[in-house]
């Protein structure tokens, strides 16, 4: 039996947590540490994906006024709001631990194991491509990863008692302003463990479940341990780079480069509304929300469609919508896949007219 390490680095500000990401990934790459599961928590933070720009993703004035620290992760994916009402879990692995170099397969395998652990608490958690864990269509855990040579870091959140309204204020996301309606539609897209269980979940139990799920997935045994001296040394170096405004500004693009585009259109099947954030640099649909007075069954279809459309290059939007509906049984009365394409096309019309840079 191979022994891996489990760490809990407690509640920390984001610069420390991200510097530890770098330190542990480097230490794993240098073979100074065994493969490791780390639990972590954050003081209120707005965390950018590695390639994202704070101006485009966050309401910086709100963050500043409310003491929310802005940080850049070393992992990919989208911006998130992270505070004490969530816990983080991370795996530091060697490529041989996962038996493949295909990055999507690695994500799928780790997310399946994490979903098993969350499900054992009494909810039906599942992996949803690309890289979410959801309960009945609502996201409960977002994930991202980084690699360097043979070392991998894969990390996830777990929403326990998440403040959806705060998330809407912190992130620049395509919700129709900050109305009750927007808050209600945000609640339909994220799931809280506490709400699902109808009681405060036991964080110790969550940690044990995740630990056991990864033990069983990778056929190893975890031992509790502390950070090593080499990790401390690497952490100090990483912190000097990461706890700076230069690191946060590493990618900086104006908010106008990622407009939030809205459209509404009346169809025979009802009124369909769309809000989309569109990256004009890469001509990519970053995120899209569909709402409106429509009937769609199963209900989760809309959330699944939105997940499918994340980070979709403009020329792939239509085929992805068609494939999505072709692959499943959906009852939408007289609403059609073409209606979703039409309203989205209406919203995207402005940047489509702009010349390619």
């Amino acid at each position: 039996m191979e022994y891996w390490r489990v760490l809990d680095t407690g509640l920390r500000p984001p610069a420390q947590n991200i510097a530890l990401n770098r330190a542990l990934l480097e230490a794993r790459q240098a073979d100074e540490i065994p493969s490791t599961l780390r639990f972590l928590r954050f003081t209120p933070s707005a965390l950018l994906g590695y390639h994202q720009s704070a101006e485009q993703e966050l309401n910086l004035d709100y963050c500043k006024a409310n003491g929310i620290a802005v940080q850049r992760r070393i992992t990919g994916g989208g911006a998130i709001y992270f505070d004490e009402t969530q816990i983080g879990w991370e795996l530091y692995l060697h490529k041989r631990d996962v038996g493949t170099s295909d990055m999507q397969s690695i994500s799928r395998r780790i997310c399946h194991a994490a979903a098993t652990a969350i499900s054992a608490l009494g909810v039906d958690a599942r992996y949803r491509p690309r890289n979410d864990i959801e309960v009945d269509g609502r996201k409960i855990s977002g994930t991202g990863g980084a690699f360097d040579g043979d070392a991998l870091l894969f990390q996830g959140t777990l929403l326990i008692e998440f403040d959806v309204e705060k998330m809407l204020r912190v992130l620049r996301i395509p919700a129709e302003k900050l109305s009750d309606k927007a808050i209600a539609s945000a609640r339909e897209r994220v799931a809280n463990l506490k709400d699902l269980l109808g009681r405060q979940p036991d964080v110790g139990q969550i940690r044990r479940n995740l630990t056991e799920a990864f033990e069983s997935e990778f056929d190893v045994e975890f031992h509790e341990d502390e950070l090593t001296l080499s990790e401390h040394a690497r952490y100090q170096v990483a912190l000097r780079e990461i706890d700076t405004s230069d690191w946060i500004a590493l990618a900086s693009r104006p908010a106008s480069g990622m407009p939030i585009l809205e459209a509404v259109q009346k169809f025979a099947g009802g009124l369909l509304r769309v809000a989309a954030s569109f990256d004009t640099l890469t001509r990519t649909l970053r995120q899209v929300w569909f709402t409106g007075d429509i009937f769609v069954s199963p209900r989760r279809t809309i959330a699944d469609l939105e997940a499918t459309l994340r980070d979709t290059p403009l020329d792939k939007v239509e085929p992805r919508i068609r494939t999505f509906f072709a692959e499943r049984q959906v009852d939408m009365l007289s609403l059609t896949p073409d209606d979703f394409i039409a309203v989205l096309r209406l919203a995207l019309k402005q940047p489509l007219l702009m010349p390619h840079p």
Binding site: G49, M103, G144, T282
Partner: protein, 146 residues
């Protein structure tokens, strides 16, 4: 031209097989670098690419660019040491080019090499390319390029 498990690996380029990157010595002495078609296949659809800035020095086997696919971020490691003299702006705005044309319009960075003769001795080229990549693909359990 070599084709390994359906992946095009041109044998006139220089490779660091472990890091899955290529280098081409240009007539003006600069070295163009990028990811192999195999690296792009493992990554999946690339959604972001940030090359190091012009004027920066990069050491051999250290990051010359950072790419993101499927929420994974990782470095593209320079096959040789040198100073960045040009970056491909087109891969910043169209990162998918790295998947579709990794040896052509999907190049990432041009370096002024610090020591081409010394550094390139560690790279493989020509007839040895196909076997080296086949061995790597077997180790990685890779079925083939689609």
């Amino acid at each position: 031209m070599a084709t390994v498990k359906g992946c095009n690996i041109p044998d006139d380029l220089y490779y660091n097989v472990e890091n899955n990157v290529w280098a081409r010595r240009e007539d003006d002495g600069t070295v163009t670098i990028g990811m192999t078609v195999y690296a792009a296949a493992l990554a999946g659809q690339i959604v972001s690419c940030t090359p190091k800035k012009v004027g920066r020095s990069v050491e051999q086997n250290k990051s010359a660019a950072t790419v993101e696919s499927g929420k994974w971020v990782g470095p593209v490691k320079a096959p040789v040491s040198g100073e960045v003299v040009a970056i491909n702006e087109a891969v910043t705005s169209s990162p998918g080019t790295i998947n579709t044309d990794p040896y052509g319009s999907g190049w990432m960075v041009k370096l002024k090499p610090a020591n081409w003769d010394g550094d390139s001795a560690a790279l493989i080229t020509g007839g040895a390319v196909a076997a080296a990549f086949e061995a790597k693909m077997n180790t990685d359990g890779f079925a083939g390029c689609a």
